[in-house]
């Protein structure tokens, strides 16, 4: 059994760590690229959202590297992600890629359904070892997220353009290479040193922009055309409404770990505008917009794949939030036809607008 899984930003680092900890043979698909997307677009349903097409491309590319089993998460709607695995499997079968499919679904009848699937993947390892592996994977997710957060702060302040990105990649590589908890802890320290090595201008005035939207397009830089990096280079400190470890804590550990931002806060904040969950991260998007506005952010960027239902609901409601809190919001919709230059132009215009607004406010105060 050679297991593969779809890409979603840095997810592969912790998923690989977790599975290798359990001595599962893992094939990580090549990073998502134009080729991946082209493959997905060719075989995927026309109006399926972009994550499905990228998943499909990942699986086709991983097949070439010898993968024969897919691990996917499932879901129970109303977002169509819950049916991804089944559709993707049917498509792959039709075009001649014979994969075995393991879908980790929220158990419908009994929790044992979930356990038996985990047991099937992990083989003879004890449950204790499985828990250790999950813990190890989670620790990696935390480490990766911390590096990412640091990079968000550094990018607008770096003295040499691009130096943050180099440090970021090196730090991630260090984390990725570790195989034990002990090594990971050492790597975290070294990664911290690498990040500290970038020279910064700490007094440079920066804009603060919240980045929110659908989780896949938020976490996968290829799918959002590097929007975080562009914003950083244009002089904005970015904060993202979802980080991998927070998502894991919310959805897999049921919010057991305290001290992390949780979706409950976002949903409470969204209530005056959106009184019911709408699947996906729709309500969280509205809620995080409110939270960012209250925290004094200068602007908000929402990203989601074309035709994403929950985010369209959020998009329709966000103007109300923008009006009430006087915070400009830019919505970017991604699909296979989105061009990087177009996005860049819009981001530049948005940044100009925010800077002007900030300037006017400063003048009014003085």
């Amino acid at each position: 059994m050679r297991v593969t899984f779809p890409h979603m930003g840095n997810l592969h680092i912790c998923l690989k760590a977790m599975l290798r900890y359990l001595e599962v043979d893992v094939v990580v698909p090549p990073p998502s690229s134009k080729k991946t997307l082209t493959l997905g677009v060719k075989y995927g349903p026309e109006f399926a959202c972009m994550p499905l097409k990228l998943n499909l491309g990942n699986f086709i590319e991983a097949y070439g590297l010898g993968a024969d089993t897919i691990i996917m998460a499932g879901g129970c709607g109303p977002c169509r992600f819950g049916y991804y695995a089944q559709i993707e499997h049917a498509i792959l079968k039709e075009i001649g890629y014979e994969y075995e499919l393991i879908v980790i679904e929220p158990p419908e009848r009994h929790i044992s359904e979930l356990f038996s699937k985990i047991k099937y993947v992990t083989g003879d390892h004890s449950w204790w070892r499985v828990i250790q592996a999950v813990r190890f994977g989670y620790q990696k997710a935390r480490a990766v997220d911390e590096i990412e957060m640091t990079a968000f702060k550094m990018r607008p302040r770096e003295l040499v353009p691009g130096s943050t990105d180099i440090a970021y990649r090196n730090a991630l590589n260090l984390i990725d290479r570790t195989v034990t908890l002990h090594e990971l802890n050492r790597a975290k320290k070294r990664a911290g040193l690498i990040m500290d090595g970038v020279s910064l201008d700490k007094n440079r005035p920066v804009l603060k922009i919240g980045l929110t939207g659908e989780i896949f397009t938020l976490l996968e830089p290829f799918s959002n055309l590097d929007v975080e990096r562009h914003l950083g280079r244009l002089g904005a400190e970015v904060d993202r409404s979802v980080y991998l470890s927070e998502w894991v804590n919310d959805h897999l550990f049921m919010g057991l770990l305290k001290g992390l931002r949780s979706r409950k806060d976002a949903c409470t904040a969204a209530f005056p505008y959106l009184r019911h969950f709408v699947g996906g991260h729709g309500q969280e998007t509205v809620g995080s917009a409110v939270n960012y506005a209250r925290a004094g952010y200068d602007g908000l960027v929402q990203v989601f794949p074309f035709t994403c239902m929950p985010e369209i609901v959020a998009e329709s409601i966000l103007p109300e939030v923008a009006k009430d809190y006087e915070m400009p919001i830019l919505t970017l919709i991604m699909d296979e036809h989105t061009g990087e230059t177009g996005i860049l132009t819009r981001l530049e215009a948005f940044i100009d607008l925010l800077e002007r607004k900030k300037e006017l406010r400063r003048q009014a105060l003085s």
């Binding site: 109006f47 049917a90 019911h276 929950p310 329709s316």
Partner: protein, 326 residues
């Protein structure tokens, strides 16, 4: 004076109008429907909805606007789930909130209809809707019971082969409950969300057009719930959209019936559930060697384009039939 309750002629009006209407009338309200879909209504909807949202929701925005100034309340239930462990669609879940962002509308009655966990939750919704009129729970309950009776009759009429507009007219006039047989040359299964296939403005009179071409139209609503569910259970994983489930069930049922010579699938541009169910049905139709056509609708769809495609599809169906009988 009686309270005027407005009901937009959109979305699941095509399923539940008899229920809603009877309930409010029993409680002494006057029920006002928005005008039938038209260019004016659609244009009004386009003005108020975001570009990315699907055509039926844009249409619904227009219908809601049409009721402004005519009624005291607009009835806009939040249809989360009408069946255990199933949903309608994310946009239905957020629709009342989207409408609340608009200015100049009468207050909404936006009760939550949610059967996701259990049926009992729905009774709270009934109670909440009825509280506007009376504090007598018995009366609310009675109104709900008689509304349910009418609703059941409506579903029976649909299963006898009547289309929603015919069935609604039939309910008013007290039509006889006997099957409608159409003498068309072919039978085609017309699948899609009810608000796409039954709104004759959205789909440019698709049903009437097919009928004048000598085609009997069979929709998912002509089949009993049991048949649809049984057929849909052939999927490896149950679909979590009630309406998608109905389409899949009706499609699988059509593959088995020899008198059905093709499937026309009507999807709204950028509809999430349609992108998945449509693909599933198309895939299965290829396996079952059933002629299949996917019509995608949006506000730019031209009538001539639709006509050409239906004609071509029917030609294909006819040739195929002729070829098979040789």
């Amino acid at each position: 004076m009686n309270l005027k309750i407005g009901i937009p002629r959109a979305l699941l009006y095509y399923y539940y109008y008899p229920l809603w209407k009877t309930f409010f009338q029993e409680l002494g309200a006057e029920v006002v429907l928005s005008s039938p879909s038209s260019k004016v209504i659609l244009d009004n909807g386009l003005k108020h909805a975001v570009d990315e949202i699907c055509l039926p929701i844009k249409m619904a925005f227009g219908h809601v606007q049409d009721l402004a100034g005519k009624v005291d309340y607009i009835f806009l239930p939040r249809l989360v789930s009408v069946k255990k462990h199933e949903y309608i669609c994310p946009k239905f879940l957020g629709f009342p909130d989207l409408v609340r962002c608009l200015d100049g509308l009468p207050p909404l009655i936006d009760i939550n209809v949610n059967y996701y966990k259990n049926k009992k939750d729905a009774y709270f919704a009934v109670k909440e809707a009825g509280k506007l009129f009376t504090n007598n729970y018995l009366k609310i309950w009675g109104a709900y019971r008689s509304a349910l009776d009418i609703q059941k009759k409506y579903f029976r009429l649909l299963q006898l082969g009547l289309m929603p507009d015919e069935a609604l007219a039939g309910l008013e006039e007290g039509v006889e409950e006997k099957p409608r047989l159409h003498q068309g040359e072919h039978t085609v299964a017309l699948l899609g969300h009810p608000y796409n296939i039954y709104d004759s403005y959205i789909n440019m009179n698709l049903i009437r057009r097919l009928r004048t071409m000598g085609v009997n139209v069979l929709t998912a609503e002509c089949l009993s719930e049991r048949v649809v569910r049984n057929c849909a259970s052939g999927l490896s994983k149950k679909l979590f959209w009630t309406l998608g489930q109905r389409m899949i069930g009706a499609a699988f049922h059509s593959f088995k019936r020899h008198d059905i010579s093709g499937i026309v699938y009507v999807a709204a541009f950028a509809c999430g559930p349609d992108s998945m169910t449509g693909d599933l049905i198309a895939r299965e139709a290829r396996v079952a060697r059933m002629p299949f056509m996917n019509l995608t609708l949006d506000e730019h769809t031209g009538e001539t384009g639709i006509v050409t495609r239906i004609e071509a599809f029917m030609d294909m169906v006819r040739w195929r039939k002729a070829g098979l009988s040789k």
